[in-house]
Structures are given as C-alpha cells and as structure tokens.
C-alpha cells in the first residue's frame, strides 16, 4: 500500500487519548470476559494501555488500531497465564478453577448462563467467540488479533461454538471431558 507510506509519522503524532479512549469500554468487556474478575480485568486493560502508549510511535500506520490494541491485551493475558504456570501455580489454579467452575456450572445450567460456560473454553475459543460474537470484529480483524490465517478463524469459530453449546447443554459431562 504505497499510499500509506508517508502517513505513519502523522498518525503517530495524533493524540493517543482521542483515539484510545473510545475503545476502552470494549477492552474492559473483553478483559472481563476472559478473566471473570473486574479488578483483574482493569489491571489487564491498564497494562494494555501502558504498552500501547509506549509503542505508540511504532504502531503500523495501515494496521487497524482496534485489532492492534486487542492483540496487545490478549498477548499480555496469555503471557501472564504462562508466567503463572511457570511459577508452579498450575496445579493449584486448575483445582480451584475446576471446583469454582463446577459450582458455577450448575447455576449456569439453570440460568442458561453462557458467560459461565464460556469460562471453561480454552483461551483461543473464548477469544473467537468474544471478538466475533460480542465485539463484532470481522473475521479478518480476528485473524489479525489471534495471529492465524482467516480460514483457520472460520473453522475454529465453528468448533468453539459447538464446544460452548455442548457445555451449556451437557454441563458436567462436558466438564469431565475437559482435558487439554
């Protein structure tokens, strides 16, 4: 895109606040849906915004700001999860996670709480359902956030929806089959 070449500098100088703030409500929603914890979600959003500001000038001019921001948030989230695992907290977290989600799952069955069912999906499946289904990201934008080809987005989206459906419908059975 040769026409885009002279613009990076101009765009880099644009006030970050005016461009970022309209996206914060959606970032908070995505973070909350990933973490199921209001305070932790806002911590993640704060880290995301700090990272975005520190890399503001290196932002690609032709890249879409929204996809760029959500990708930063998702990568920070994944890194934090990996770090928690590396610290040896894996077993403990999984146990707590199981018991908690099992309890919530029963409630979810009655209330048809899709949000609680979502919690049992792998991160990538969560992100697919949230970005496409809630944030109205295009498949292409979603592919950019997840760092996968667009065709992969389509096939994995289908699988994520099946998985969510089976959790909502079958509940505990699906929970027991949850082996990664």
């Amino acid at each position: 895109m040769p026409a885009g070449v002279p613009f990076p500098r101009l765009r880099a100088m644009a006030d970050p606040g005016a461009l970022l703030e309209p996206l914060i409500p959606a970032l908070r929603r995505y973070a909350y849906a990933l973490l199921h914890d209001h305070a932790a979600a806002d911590d993640l959003v704060q880290d995301t915004l700090e990272r975005a500001l520190s890399r503001w000038s290196s932002r690609r001019a032709d890249g879409e700001l929204r996809a760029w921001l959500f990708a930063i948030l998702r990568n920070l989230h994944i890194d934090a999860y990996r770090q928690a695992r590396r610290r040896g907290a894996e077993v403990e977290i999984d146990e707590v996670d199981h018991r908690e989600t099992a309890t919530r799952q029963e409630a979810a069955l009655e209330a048809r709480d899709v949000l609680a069912a979502l919690e049992q999906l792998a991160e990538e499946q969560k992100s697919l359902l949230l970005l496409i289904g809630v944030e109205d990201f295009s498949y292409e934008e979603t592919a950019r956030v997840l760092g996968v080809p667009i065709g992969t987005v389509m096939s994995r989206l289908s699988r994520a929806r099946q998985r969510l459906r089976s959790i909502v419908e079958l509940g505990p059975v699906a929970l027991l089959r949850r082996v990664k």
Partner: protein, 261 residues
C-alpha cells in the same frame, strides 16, 4: 432433497449465526435450515448463545471508564516514571564520570592499585586537585593572596590544623591563594603558587591516618608529587617539575610546616 438445495458451507452457517449474511445467501441458508431440523436446532442454539453472551456483557461496556484507565492518567504516570528513570540515569552518569576521573588519575599514578597507603591517597588527592585547578585561568584560587591572613585562618579552621603558607620565594614561587576541597572523609586545603613563567605548584593538606613519615614520590604525567604524613595530617607538594627540582621544595615545605621538636 430438491434441485434448489444449494450446497451450504460451514463458514456460511457461522456467518449466519453472526448475522453477517446478506440477501440471497441468507435466504439460501434459511431455506436449507428449514429442510434440516437437526441443523436448524443447532444453529438456533448457537444464535441464542451468541445473543445471550452479548446481553450478559453489555453492561460491562456501558460502565463509565474508571479514572485509573483514563489515558491522561496513564500518560501522567508514564511521564513521572520516565522522569524518575532519567534522574537515575543522570546519577549513574555522574558516578561514572567521578569513577572515570579517579581511574584516570589513578592510572597515571600506579598501574596496579592495591590497598592504598595513606600517603598514596594523599598524593592522589593532591594530584587530582592539581590537575583540576592548575589549568584554571579565571579562578585558580578561591581566596587570593591579597587576603592571606583570612585565607590561612579560614583554611586552618576548616582543616582543624594551624596552616601557614611556606615561603617558596627562594624557589621562584609566590603564593597566589588557596581553596577548600573535599579530601578523604573531611576537608582538604590547597595552596597555589606560581613562578614568573606561570608554572604552578600546589601544596595540599588534609587529615590522614598513618604514621608513615617518609616522602612518597609519584609521577602523574608531567606532574610530580611528593607526599608525606605527619601528626595526623597528609601533605603533598605537586608541580610540573622533575623529582630533583621538586625534592628540595618538598623538604623546605616539610620543615616550614612541621613544628620543630
């Protein structure tokens, strides 16, 4: 199955769930679902769940943005952090510069520095001070010889040692004045002399431990230093001179400064 049943892709089903299909394809998917009850039920469930997820998360996006997530807040915090880091960098640079210059002086004095003898420390301090101020044209001294009495009283008081300016006229040097410097754990005094050719010589005095009374000679580039310790004080005479030229001056200073008996 009829001939009108156009093949439907999974991607189209997903786009249908997401309400992203337009006119003809949307109609085609709906027709297809009408003929396949099981699939219709699955897609209906997926649409319900999508709508339910959106509804449950709607409130989150409607919340006002917390103050700590405002861009102005984050930018202010970033600037403060940056300023703090810059001052740390400045401090590190200052330490490096000081360390660097000490190293530079030390290098000329001794290639391998081991545990410093007190005389060596005095000689180094003297040489460093000499290097710093002997090149000064505008302010070689803090207090000039015009106020010699005041100068010596001031330096003596700060040093805790009665200081007299030795008369070095026999060697062609006359007193210019002096200044106070940091030296070791306390203060150091530097008296500066100059000959008619503009060559300068300094006498450096500061508190120092040790009982070594022997003269220690050190050469720092062109500058030569004789240092010694006497009664809790270190003395050093530094000049652009050879060892032979400097030794008699150092001896004269030693005799002039040290109380007899």
């Amino acid at each position: 199955m009829t001939g009108e049943d156009v093949p439907i892709g999974e991607d189209e089903l997903q786009a249908f769930v997401d309400e992203r299909l337009d006119g003809p394809r949307r109609d085609a998917v709906e027709a297809h679902l009408a003929r396949h009850p099981e699939l219709r039920e699955r897609i209906a469930a997926e649409r319900r769940q999508r709508a339910s997820l959106r509804a449950q998360l709607q409130g989150k996006a409607a919340e006002p943005i917390p103050a700590r997530l405002r861009i102005a807040t984050i930018q202010a915090a970033r600037r403060a952090r940056l300023a703090r880091r810059m001052s740390l960098v400045a401090a590190a640079v200052a330490i490096f510069v000081v360390g660097g210059s000490v190293g530079w002086f030390a290098k000329g004095l001794r290639p391998a520095l081991v545990a410093q003898a007190p005389t060596t420390a005095v000689a180094q301090g003297a040489a460093a001070a000499y290097r710093t101020f002997v090149v000064e044209v505008a302010h070689p001294v803090e207090v000039s010889v015009a106020q010699e009495t005041h100068l010596l009283q001031w330096l003596s008081k700060r040093l805790g040692h009665k200081l007299e300016a030795p008369d070095l006229a026999p060697f062609g040097y006359r007193l210019m004045g002096g200044r106070l410097l940091p030296g070791g754990s306390g203060a150091a005094a530097q008296l500066m002399y100059e000959d008619t050719a503009g060559k300068r010589l300094t006498l450096y005095v500061r508190a120092a431990d040790g009982t070594e009374t022997a003269f220690r000679f050190q050469q720092d580039g062109d500058a030569a230093t004789f240092a010694w310790i006497d009664q809790g004080f270190g003395f050093a005479v530094t000049a652009m001179a050879s060892r032979e030229e400097l030794l008699p001056i150092a001896e004269a200073v030693y005799k002039g400064l040290t109380p007899k008996g």
